[in-house]
């Protein structure tokens, strides 16, 4: 590896686009792909899940009820963020995804103003790209929450997101990297509440990094999920949202048209009508704290509630 070869390679790489010229876009679109009308789950359904515990629990719950309904399923856990998952759903790498109403709507239409569940469901139907649809939303809900420690709340007199503005330029916010560019995140906090943070720290989705940083005081405000039992356990304060920046976040299945048949619809609707927020929170706790497998937890729940 002498100097000449390394430099030669550098110039070569700069002048030869061959390395990357084959970006033909989307992969392996299913053959039944974009036809309108009914899809079919006969060939099996691949469920993708995002990079946090609850989404995996939901993915395995979907798998449990679909399997019981006679659909072959395959769960791909921990694939990444919504920004990664939705293109993968469009491209055919996955078929079904546990989503959250408001967050999904704001991903598709950042300027959406709907906050009521029914309205959001309609807005989603409009905003979704061709080939994708949402099924009826479930009872369970998991919102984004902006959280501070009890001490920070006292020190700066914080009870609501509106109070953050008084400390503009002073506070550090910690969240998953994607939250920096999301409406339900730094952008919305600026536009709706006029909040400017001193710094944004890229951490994780209600995971060890963001919670550790909040505990240690490395961040003042943390973006967590309301179903995270650590909020109560640590006596953290969830800042109120008087302007309704954070929309309702009912769990909603996002599915490719090609797989959405009545078997899938019914099975997922039944689950949605039974699973409550408290139950979902408890399932998350079993995975995070008792170190149970999300798959086992989901199967046990489905069995216990007559879903499998």
């Amino acid at each position: 590896m002498n100097r000449r070869t390394v430099l030669g390679g550098l110039f070569a790489a700069a002048s030869v686009p061959a390395l990357s010229s084959c970006a033909s876009g989307i992969t392996s679109l299913d053959s039944q792909g974009t036809t309108s009308g009914g899809g079919s789950s006969k060939g099996g359904v691949t469920i993708g899940t995002a990079n946090f515990t609850e989404n995996q629990v939901l993915g395995y719950l979907y798998a449990a009820v679909l399997t019981a309904a006679g659909v072959k399923t395959n769960v791909r856990p921990n694939l990444g963020t919504r920004e990664i998952l939705i293109p993968a759903l469009k491209g055919g790498d996955i078929d079904l995804l546990p989503e959250y109403q408001g967050a999904l709507l704001h991903y598709l239409a950042p300027k959406a103003t709907e906050t009521e569940e029914g309205e959001m469901q309609n807005a989603l139907a409009v905003a979704l790209p061709a080939g994708l649809q949402v099924l009826p939303y479930g009872m369970a809900e998991d919102s984004d929450a902006f959280v501070v420690t009890r001490e920070t709340a006292k020190k700066y007199g914080l009870t609501s997101l509106a109070d953050l503005k008084k400390q503009n330029g002073k506070l550090v916010i910690g969240a998953a990297p994607e939250v920096k560019k999301r409406q339900v995140g730094v952008i919305g906090l600026r536009e709706v509440y006029g909040v400017e943070f001193k710094e944004f720290k890229s951490l994780d989705s209600s995971g060890p990094l963001v919670k550790g940083a909040l505990k240690k005081g490395d961040v003042d405000v943390a973006n967590l999920f309301t179903t995270d039992t650590d909020i109560q356990a640590n006596d953290w304060v969830v800042l109120k949202d008087p302007e309704n920046l954070i929309p309702g976040q009912h769990v909603v299945p996002l599915i490719a048209d090609r797989k959405a048949d009545s078997t899938v619809r019914k099975a997922l609707a039944r689950l949605g009508n039974i699973l409550t927020t408290a139950q979902l929170t408890e399932l998350n706790r079993q995975v995070d704290k008792d170190k149970k497998d999300p798959e086992d937890v989901a199967n046990a729940y489905a069995k216990q509630h007559g879903l499998a």
Partner: protein, 213 residues
């Protein structure tokens, strides 16, 4: 940090599946790397001006973080095993190409002349004389590339693949060391076993070296 042995006992099936998937990704990458680097190495060996160019490209590719390669491949091959394998292959090239060129260089000119004098055609000389003689150096490269790939597969956990690497992100998210330890130990074991297997392959493929030793 305590190890939850019962977790390991309860998850032997999962661990086996992940290990197989891990090995499959690494071996596919090395195989693809060999298939790509062999012809390129022959070109680099014969055509001097291209040598620096080809080795240089592989060197520069080596400096790109593997995670970035995986992400940049997403528009091309999506969240699939293909993305993992292509990404890993890029990294095997630097070792495979250099070692194969060096192996071909190490074949004595007299040997090649002798083959020519006997009327052997160039392609036949390459396949029956040069490549076998270059094999020890090539195999040294294959061994390094294999061990390196086995260690790198886990990076693909950031795009939802990664074989045993999934144990790392899982343990990280749940503050649970047991799967992480299992993943690290299995990765090293896999590398050791694969390396030993390659030594055995080389032993079988190069009988003349045995007699000399």
């Amino acid at each position: 940090m305590t190890i939850d042995w019962s977790w390991i006992g309860d998850h032997t099936d999962d661990l086996a599946t992940l290990t197989v998937s891990h090995l499959q990704a690494a071996l596919s990458a090395v195989l693809l790397g060999v298939l790509i680097s062999l012809p390129l190495a022959v070109v680099a060996h014969r055509v001097r001006p291209l040598r620096g160019f080809l080795l240089g490209i592989s060197n520069v590719l080596f400096t790109i973080p593997s995670i970035a390669i995986f992400v940049l491949l997403l528009p091309v091959s999506g969240l699939t095993r293909t993305t993992t394998v292509i990404g890993l292959t890029v990294y095997t090239l630097v070792v495979l190409l250099r070692n194969t060129v060096e192996g071909l260089d190490s074949v004595p000119a007299k040997t090649k002349e002798a083959a020519k004098a006997m009327g052997t055609r160039p392609l036949r000389t390459l396949l029956t004389v040069e490549l076998p003689l270059a094999l020890p150096v090539i195999m040294a490269g294959v061994r390094i590339a294999t061990v390196m790939s086995i260690s790198l597969v886990s990076v693909a956990t950031y795009i939802g693949d990664g074989g045993l690497g999934q144990l790392f992100t899982d343990g990280f998210q749940r503050d649970f060391p047991t799967p992480v330890v299992a993943g690290v130990v299995l990765t090293i074991l896999l590398a050791v076993v694969a390396d030993a297997a390659l030594v055995a392959v080389q032993y079988v493929l190069t009988p003349w070296q045995r007699r000399r030793a």
